[in-house]
Subunit: 287 residues, 2 copies
């Protein structure tokens, strides 16, 4: 991975957000805070929800079809569940002129490019991205203008037009992200370990506990399982979208868990401490 | 488990804290804040450390031997690693008069009573306890007077003198805990799932990640693995002290993890969502 060089570009004047949920809503809120002159158009299926987002002042206008949402210089940010991103890219590309660009906020990247390849080749005007920020909450009502502040955003150029890669890089930077470039495959391999596996482990931990045990949980349980409260359907899509690397990561975790369990069974305190110590040293590097 | 009834007792005038680390230090800090008239004596092996705790105003005086620490009405709180608690109880009991009582803050309870049974039977003056509060930090320098505020503290009477059970219950209540009575075995079985397993899962998750991956971690990884930064030797003692129930909990987690991995391998989104949803519902009950 490499830090993207920033080029001097004009600020975006029109941002189209497809999918105004927590992620898309937080992008809108961040733009409102940092670039109040920017026009924001929401795109979605539910007119009622889009009207609510408008009434809340999060977006300026909305459309239920890609074609009528676009202006001549739009940047489109697709904030849909990962399994719907490729089809949305294809739909927008049909109506895009050469001064427009598409990016996304999906947590997996390889599957999106594979989908695009299967359906006619990725557009030179699509620059994939993944801002590493999120919440177990959902809906634009929980939008946070500072969600992206100081967060890493991975940019996956994968052969897109260099001027548009620079523009998308600037866009994510403008809402507070630190950007890095990686290939889609590099991204997916690392994120399987740093994001998808933690979610899996949090869910497994929570799934082992019964409601009547909850009064005897402390801050350890609370933090360890926080992300497990996230939407099950969204996460099923993420795990399947990164299937190969997620399975690899889970097999690795099963191996370490089994190794630690055997050490506890055989009262091998040296082995137990070695595993816990390796984890502690790694985790302490974050603080 | 049952909520303990509170009886009207005089506040403690002399508290002896054996092991002035994060847990013992936070008890001292809580007493300073809530019962400033109470005299606090620290007991430990390191004179230097005890002198520092004295200089910091956390304890009033200290001793390196149990016998010289006790007064006629002391309540002794043993805040040592779990594998040293039974021997410390035995040492204090030798010098205890009938108006004194011993409690502890250990995260496992069964192993302590087993140890006591092996070494001559548990004292009627020992009332085990486990305040469900902690931190991945260590040392009295990180003591927090509010660490126990609103936390559950499990009391394990196991045949101790009822007047002393009431006194210990009041003591933990006086530093902010909500107390519940359970048998040592009930406690260990539930805590294996609500505290020991989360620690194991956090450590396994962290152990799967390499230092070069850390820039691509977000708040999910940060929260899920926070407790893994804790002291490896302390936690090895806890896992071994609750060996039987910890192994049961780990086997359960291995089973769920494997079930989820097989569902991802076979792209069974219904099965994936069912497991994630069960976890999400459980976790949402906490919020």
């Amino acid at each position: 991975m490499s830090l993207s060089h920033q080029t001097s570009l004009v600020p975006e004047s029109h941002v189209v957000i497809a999918g105004v949920g927590l992620i898309g809503g937080s992008i809108a809120a961040a733009l409102r805070k940092r670039m109040p002159a920017c026009r924001i158009t929401g795109v979605g299926r539910s007119r009622t929800r889009l009207e609510q987002a408008c009434a809340q002042g999060l977006i300026d206008d909305f459309s239920t079809t890609p074609c009528s949402a676009l202006s001549s210089t739009s940047i489109v940010v697709i904030c849909l569940p990962v399994e719907h991103i490729a089809e949305s890219v294809i739909e927008f590309v049909k109506h895009l002129n050469s001064d427009c660009v598409i990016t996304d906020g999906g947590s997996v990247k390889g599957a999106i490019y594979e989908d695009l390849r299967r359906k006619g080749g990725p557009s030179l005007q699509f620059v994939g991205a993944h801002p590493i920020a999120g919440s177990e909450q959902s809906g634009f009502e929980n939008a946070d203008p500072d969600l992206y502040e100081g967060r890493t955003c991975v940019i996956t150029p994968e052969g897109a037009r260099p001027d548009l890669v620079a523009r998308v890089t600037q866009f994510w930077g403008s809402i507070g992200c630190r950007t890095v470039e990686m290939t889609a495959s590099e991204h997916d391999q690392v994120l399987a370990l740093t994001s998808h596996l933690p979610h899996v482990m949090a869910s497994v931990t929570a799934a082992c506990v019964q409601p009547q045990h909850l009064p005897l949980t402390g801050t350890g349980f609370r933090d360890t399982t926080r992300v497990a409260a996230g939407a099950a359907d969204l996460w099923a899509g993420i795990l399947l979208g990164n299937q190969r690397f997620v399975v690899e990561a889970m097999l690795r975790a099963e191996q370490v868990l089994q190794e630690l369990r055997l050490a506890v069974e055989s009262r091998d305190s040296v082995r137990i401490e070695a595993i816990l110590h390796r984890a502690a040293v790694l985790r302490q590097m974050l603080d």
